[in-house]
């Protein structure tokens, strides 16, 4: 899922400083799961903003809501009534949600409360790590379902570099060496012969490097 983290309160206050009435809107999907922008986080941030602004002598009125999803027009358009009554929207969704709201409400100020980082998974309570780089040409079949594009710091395609030590990446002891993990899994699954095949240079045109991507399913277009 998409991983995001809340911006510092000071930054959120600075972004929203000129607006009197805010709609703080969360999302029930990824940002709920990573505890960044769900209903609970909406309530806590709204409370913190109310208190901070009251102490500084410019009390704000805050309306709280959490959408089912902020990346689909059918849920975003439902916000119309609430948006009509406020000066700005502070979206606690990922970057996609913020932009979807903005696109459907072209005359409204829509502001982000989160910094969206990556597509990733939960590895333990309170820990989320980047797992998929969205390269558009998945090679997980050749790497034992461990992605070197996302999980190798250098996105190498043919095994570890000289910096790999004790299963860890040279950049930090918190980062496992993806190729060490790939080797370990492939040997357990007896697929080492696949590892000996040299992967050619990757065609990055299917990744973000090739420009913003668009997917069309013609069979779904009426």
């Amino acid at each position: 899922m998409i991983i995001a983290d809340q911006k510092p309160l000071a930054e959120i206050r600075q972004i929203t400083s000129r607006f009197q009435k805010l709609l703080v809107v969360g999302c029930q999907e990824c940002v709920t799961v990573c505890f960044a922008g769900g209903a609970k986080e909406v309530a806590v941030l709204s409370s913190a903003l109310r208190m901070a602004e009251q102490i500084d002598g410019n009390p704000k009125e805050i309306v709280e809501f959490t959408s089912v999803r902020q990346c689909d027009p059918e849920y975003v358009l439902d916000l119309a009534d609430k948006i009509a009554k406020v000066d700005a929207v502070l979206s606690m969704a990922c970057g996609v949600g913020v932009q979807t709201v903005a696109e459907h409400f072209p005359n409204t100020f829509v502001l982000p409360a989160l910094n969206t980082t990556s597509m990733g998974r939960n590895t333990g309570p309170g820990v989320w790590v980047e797992t998929c780089a969205g390269c558009g040409n998945c090679i997980l079949a050749e790497t034992g379902a461990i992605c070197p594009v996302a999980r190798c710091s250098k996105s190498l395609l043919n095994g570890p570099c000289g910096g790999s030590h004790k299963g860890l990446c040279e950049i930090s002891d918190d980062v496992p060496c993806a190729w060490a993990q790939i080797y370990e899994r492939m040997s357990r699954l007896e697929m080492l012969a696949t590892m000996e095949q040299i992967a050619p240079p990757k065609d990055w045109s299917t990744a973000r490097d090739g420009g913003p991507r668009k997917r069309v399913r013609e069979d779904l277009q009426l």
């Binding site: 806590v44 208190m51 102490i55």
Partner: protein
């Protein structure tokens, strides 16, 4: 105006300790308002924030001794929430010192009285919550 101190006390330990403090006629400030929760793990961040939004000068969460939580780790969750909120309250301008977590067993009536005394003393020392605008006068327990 008296300081408003709100205490979220777990049913199994802290609330029992508070009861015992009463039975033992230990003195603690009368302006501590006790809210009984089944476990401090139930004390949501929003309960604590709401207490401050509604004008509390100090808030404390009192639970079982670590390792002895009746619901195993509720008090550890509360501890983490209190730590998080202390930092948030500093950023907000209310002050993280107004919030604290205490641990005690049901027999530790004296500890409850200490906690109540300490948080009331902090409320007096720090002054009324910036969300309130009135002077504070200490109310001595009868």
């Amino acid at each position: 105006m008296e300081p408003q101190v709100v205490a979220f006390c777990c049913h199994y330990c802290a609330f029992a300790a508070a009861d015992l403090a009463g039975t033992m006629r230990l003195t603690y400030p009368a302006n501590v308002k006790i809210i009984r929760v089944p476990c401090t793990g139930k004390a949501d961040m929003l309960y604590l924030l709401r207490a401050f939004e509604d004008g509390a000068d100090a808030v404390f969460v009192a639970g079982c001794l670590e390792g002895n939580c009746h619901y195993l780790e509720g008090n550890l969750r509360a501890k983490k929430r209190v730590q998080y909120l202390k930092k948030l309250l500093d950023e907000v301008g209310v002050g993280g010192e107004r919030l604290e977590m205490f641990n005690m067993s049901a027999a530790m009536a004296q500890r409850f009285a200490e906690a109540a005394n300490e948080m009331t003393e902090r409320a007096l020392r720090l002054g009324p919550s910036p969300l309130r605008k009135r002077e504070l006068v200490e109310v001595k327990a009868q």
